[in-house]
Subunit: 229 residues, 2 copies
DNA sequence: ATTATAGTTAGATTAATATCGAAGTATGAA
DNA sequence: TTCATACTTCGATATTAATCTAACTATAAT
């Protein structure tokens, strides 16, 4: 890593495929061990160790020692925001991941993308919110409408709290599997949490698949109905 | 550039010092020729050409042919946003540019940083807004107060329009020269535009220096007084 | 103690790519 | 036509850094 302007280091850290894979894995918020990250990036543990050292030195990740394990996390919310921004731009520019799309059908159905819902369920939720006039899509910007505010508040979500956050409230995110937009941003995160809190789906360890129960699936479809147009 | 997840390409593009220098130069919004960018990055024109090709293929820049010149720009506002986000994170993590800070004294005084005001004038404006209770600084987040809203509206700035934008309204940005914070975000941009519109300073071509007139300087100090505490 | 698991460090190899020199293309000026 | 400027393409070189094997440290389990 040669000298260069301030953004060079961060760019080169993310610019390596192995490290990018690790960061992508960490973006779900779940703490992962070095071995898990090695597996995620398909490299040996030694190489992983070297990468983790660089990522930590660059301030992108943090580690917690616990017994003989080391758990790694993104350093803070800002790093997650940066990665989200990059993913969004990459999707818009058509840099779709060539190598590994979501393979398993459960992944295509519903999965965690960073910290919001993606997959068919994510797309359906987004379409439903747009279709009922709760969200407004203009070019690439998403805005919430007045009726949308009422709807979200009706779910018991504290909208004012979300708006104070640095992250944009509404943001679209292109879906790998469906090649359609779904909802990111702090509202997207809040809605995923809502799904967990209602018990519609379980938060699985280690995996990004979101597993809906039968009842949860029905409740989801009821809350975010598919509209025939 | 090996295969990898979607963010890898963008990361590696920004991760090269020469390219990062070029992108930093372009972030002011001014279109630059290949030769100018070569000069900015301190590399030969041949190497520059190769870099520009990659940046364009990656969707980060656009080019316009005009006679025997080629003018380069960032591809769109999203790219600028990404770079701003990265600069912000880099500053927070302490990855300050080691090599070249702003040299010329005019640069230290007032310059364009992305699309807001930086340098001593930028820092003073920021301090003044904080000191008069128009902005609130909590940890790394900046928020506008009710009296701040009144003040900004009083300048004739449409605050509601700014808040609808994707970009955060208020954001702090660490100053290279002053090592102090100044105001970025859409409000920062709006205030810089306000300075131009009032005729306090001229928008110079090719250079990032913001040149205040005598009268403009006085008006600026009047509008954003330095507070003795 | 002994063995197993989790991770780091060191050293060698290899692959990627930034860089430049030299030659070529395109536009404009004299 | 000739010359100059702006930029691209080609080919060679050199440097960087990602990767692996092997050896080492630390914690935990038996």
């Amino acid at each position: 890593m040669k000298e260069g302007p301030d953004i060079t280091l961060i760019g080169s850290l993310i610019g390596d495929p192995a490290r990018a894979n690790m960061l992508s894995a960490l973006i779900s918020g779940k703490a992962l061990t070095a071995s898990e990250l090695a597996n995620e990036a398909n490299i040996t543990l030694q190489t992983t160790s070297a990468h983790l050292k660089k990522l930590e030195a660059g301030g992108l990740i943090r580690q917690r020692k616990q017994g003989r394990h080391r758990y790694f996390n993104l350093a803070d919310e800002d790093v997650a925001t940066l990665l989200e921004t990059m993913m969004g731009l990459a999707a818009k520019k058509g840099h779709i991941r060539t190598r590994t799309g979501p393979k398993a059908p459960e992944m295509r159905k519903a999965r965690v993308c960073y910290n919001h819902l993606a997959g068919e369920f994510g797309v359906q939720m987004f379409d439903s919110l747009i279709g009922r006039g709760f969200l407004l899509e203009e070019r690439d910007e998403i805005a919430i409408t007045d009726s949308g505010r009422d709807f979200i508040r009706g779910l018991g979500i504290n909208l004012e709290l979300l708006q104070k956050a640095k992250r944009p409230l509404c943001k679209s995110c292109l879906d790998w599997s469906a090649r359609r937009s779904h909802l990111a941003g702090s509202l997207g995160t809040a809605l995923l949490n809502h799904i967990y809190e209602k018990g519609w789906a379980k938060r699985l360890e280690d995996v990004r698949v979101v597993e809906f129960s039968r009842r949860g699936e029905a409740a989801f479809h009821n809350q975010f109905p598919r509209l025939t147009d």
